[in-house]
């Protein structure tokens, strides 16, 4: 016999509150919680308990509890210190290039005359993308 599945309930009160939260705020909360989860996972992977981390960093256990609760705003220094103890990289400081796509000069032929005047590189790339030019040879800067 099939068991009854739970009834779904959409709460107007929750909806009202969710409407007051911006996507940016929610993203910040998500990042804090994901970071705490990552530290927690790394602790487990190292076979350490939060008391061990507290000792290694000369902090109180209650401070580590807060770190792992997903509500803490970490400083960069703290993340480096935690990363050193747990052998993980919590801040990637290697350059992450967002390589602009540059089109070869022949692409210019597809741009309206009126737009051949000096333009910024960003404008140029946007123009190319807007015009959906896909056949031109492209390479990364």
């Amino acid at each position: 016999m099939n068991k009854k599945t739970p009834e779904l309930y959409t709460s107007p009160l929750i909806e009202d509150l969710l409407n007051e939260i911006s996507p940016e705020e929610l993203k910040r909360t998500e990042r804090k919680m994901m970071l705490a989860a990552r530290i927690d996972d790394a602790l487990k992977a190292k076979g350490m308990r939060k008391g061990d981390l507290a000792k290694a960093l000369d902090k109180s256990p209650s401070e580590i509890t807060k770190w792992l609760s997903g509500t803490h705003n970490f400083t960069v220094e703290t993340l480096w210190e935690i990363g050193d103890v747990l052998d993980i990289n919590l801040i990637n400081i290697k350059e992450q290039r967002k390589d602009p796509v540059i089109f070869v000069a022949s692409t210019m032929a597809s741009i309206n005359d009126s737009q051949k005047s000096p333009i910024q590189l960003n404008d140029y790339c946007k123009l190319v993308i807007d015009k959906n030019v896909t056949s031109q040879k492209q390479f990364e800067a």
């Binding site: 009834e7 309930y9 709460s11 929750i14 939260i21 929610l26 909360t29 919680m33 705490a36 609760s69």
Partner: protein, 166 residues
């Protein structure tokens, strides 16, 4: 006491299912009542809790570290959402692993109290969840309530009278 367990659509996601409970013939779930009781005095704290619950359902699951555990009897899963130092609002829930939580009510913690039993409101909300947890456990044992195959949901007799098993 009549209980009806429902799944909260706005919080539940791929990482965890989040439920609350209607008691007797109340028109609001325990969590809705919690919002109503605290929206005027603790709105910013409520907004923070709402965000955390949303992220738990969507991304992280109900990790133990996001909660204050052992708020009930041993093994009954009664916990509280982690209290940020300096905040006043306490929200009780029943946590079943990282996949499922049932939200109850709560209230403001007074600085002067050391144990929840010293505050009538917190005691009432906490003991209600202990009772609900006990009733769910009885029904899981008799298979009136079961886990779904993916362990993300409770299925079966999610509407029950506590007197049924007395």
């Amino acid at each position: 006491m009549k209980c009806k367990i429902v799944k909260l659509d706005q919080f539940s996601g791929d990482a965890a299912s989040i439920y609350s409970v209607y008691i007797d013939n109340e028109k609001k779930t325990l969590f809705d009542k919690f919002i109503e009781e605290n929206i005027n005095s603790f709105k910013s704290e409520l907004l923070d809790m709402i965000q955390r619950l949303k992220v738990i359902g969507k991304s992280t699951g109900a990790r133990m570290k996001f909660f204050k555990d052992k708020e009930g009897k041993p093994g009954d899963g009664v916990s509280a959402l982690y209290d940020i130092p300096g905040t006043k609002l306490r929200l009780y829930c029943i946590r079943y692993g990282t996949e499922l939580i049932i939200l109850g009510g709560g209230g403001a913690k007074k600085k002067s109290i050391k144990a929840l039993q010293e505050d009538e409101k917190l005691k009432k909300e906490n003991y209600l969840l202990r009772k609900i947890s006990e009733e769910i456990t009885k029904r899981i044992k008799t298979k009136d309530i079961e886990w779904s195959n993916d362990h993300m949901d409770l299925i079966g007799a999610l509407e029950f009278n506590t007197e049924d098993y007395e």
